[in-house]
Structures are given as C-alpha cells and as structure tokens.
Amino acid sequence: MNFRKALLCAVLLLAGCVPTIPYGMVHEYDREVYESLRPGEATRADVLLTIGEPLYRFEEDRFFMYEWLVVYAFGVIPPAVAFPVYAPHYLCLEFAPDSCLVRREHFIGSIYGKPEKAIQKCTLMNQPKETP
C-alpha cells in the first residue's frame, strides 16, 4: 500500500472518531484580562464589558461560566494522521445580589472533558437550572 492509499484509509477510518476542535471553542480568554476582574471590586456589568458573554448562565445570573479549549499536544497515528489533544478550561464567576463579583475561579477539565463537573463545581454542587 502506498502512502496516499494508507493516508486515505486512515482518514476514512478515523473520520468519525478523531477529535476536532469545536469552532467556537478556539477563542481563549486572556488570564491577565480576567484576573483584572477582582472579587469585591468588579460588577457583572464590568465583566460583560470586559470579556463579553458567558457560555453558561445559572441561577438568574448569580453564576457565569466561560469555556475555552487549550491544545496541549498532538497525537499521531502513523503514517500521517495527527490530532489535537485538548482540555477544556472554565472561568467561573459568582455574583452577589448587588451584582458585585464575589468569586472567581479557573478550572481545568480532563482531556476531552465535558462541562458537567465544572458546572457542578461552579454552582457549588447545585444542579444547573439553565443550559445554553
């Protein structure tokens, strides 16, 4: 089997299972920027005016959660199929009833992880009431 045939077979075989990066998730949040949003100082309006809309909103906007993906490495399946190894990152923000930011946490999910655990952690183990 020559290189082209091998590559074509590998691509066809792996097309359904090789992870790809969801388009909307390649937008990362700058640590320096979100760390400038300090609990006790920033408000919900400051957050929205600085980093835009959260992907998740819970409990009448008491909690915001932002999500993005970070590629750590590339896996390789010879002869020439490579795929990204990534993990989701989450920025969890909690607001007081007066709209003041009271908690800011950054979570890193497991490789190809889903957001459920981060949502539970963010909302202090409460069940999510809204999903996007």
Binding site: F3, Y23, I51, G52, E53
Partner: protein, 120 residues
C-alpha cells in the same frame, strides 16, 4: 531506508501544517482598542444615545442582563467601517450598559466576545 525517510518527512510536514492551521485559528477574546472601535460606533455615544434609539436602529438585542440594563448584540465589523448584524466572520459582542434613565452609560466592543461564536 529512503522510503522510511520519506514517511518521516511527510509526517513532520503534516504535523507542522496541523500546528500552523490550528495555531492560526486561535483567537483571544479581547476589547477592541477605543481608537479602532471608534470608526464602527456611528450613532452610539455614551451619555447621549438612548435605549430606544439603539433598539429602533438595531432591533431586539441577542441577550440582556439585569432587567435589560445591559444589552448585548452580536455584531460583525466590516473593513469599510460598517457594523453589521449578520456576517460570515466570528462574531463580536457589542455590550451596552444603560443608566436608570435608559441613556447609554458605557459600552464596549469585545472581539470574539459572543456567546454563540459559530458562524451563522
């Protein structure tokens, strides 16, 4: 031996291409600097523009927060200085904060700051 070398080269080239392609597709969510945002602002002025004017010109917002004190529009910025509510590029968030009298208090353009970043 030579065939093995060819495979290695192809593998390395594929990896480099992948790194370049994925690397080139990463964007950081950030505020537009005020100077470059100014050309898109048009009728939007802090302390002057009312919520009614905004809604009359742009229609209903994509999202709202704090009893509509904060409105967010998904906007696409064209090179000619026009702001559009539809486009093919990744979308940006126009965040508008109003005071008690429904007059614009502060606003910002957040590059790639939309909730739904996917192409519409």
């Amino acid at each position: 031996m030579l065939r093995g070398l060819h495979l290695h080269i192809k593998l390395i080239v594929s990896l480099i291409l992948l790194v370049v392609l994925i690397g080139g597709c990463r964007w950081t969510v950030q505020k537009f600097d005020p100077l470059s945002a100014r050309k898109y602002e048009g009728f939007i002025h802090d302390g002057k523009t009312t919520k009614k004017e905004i809604i009359d010109r742009l229609g209903p917002s994509h999202s709202s927060y704090e009893n509509e004190k904060i409105l967010i529009y998904n906007v696409y910025l064209k090179k000619d200085g026009q702001m559009s509510l539809q486009g093919n590029d990744p979308c940006n968030a126009l965040v508008l904060l109003f005071d008690e009298d429904n007059v614009l208090k502060r606003h910002s353009f957040i590059k790639y700051g939309c909730k739904d970043k996917e192409k519409k």
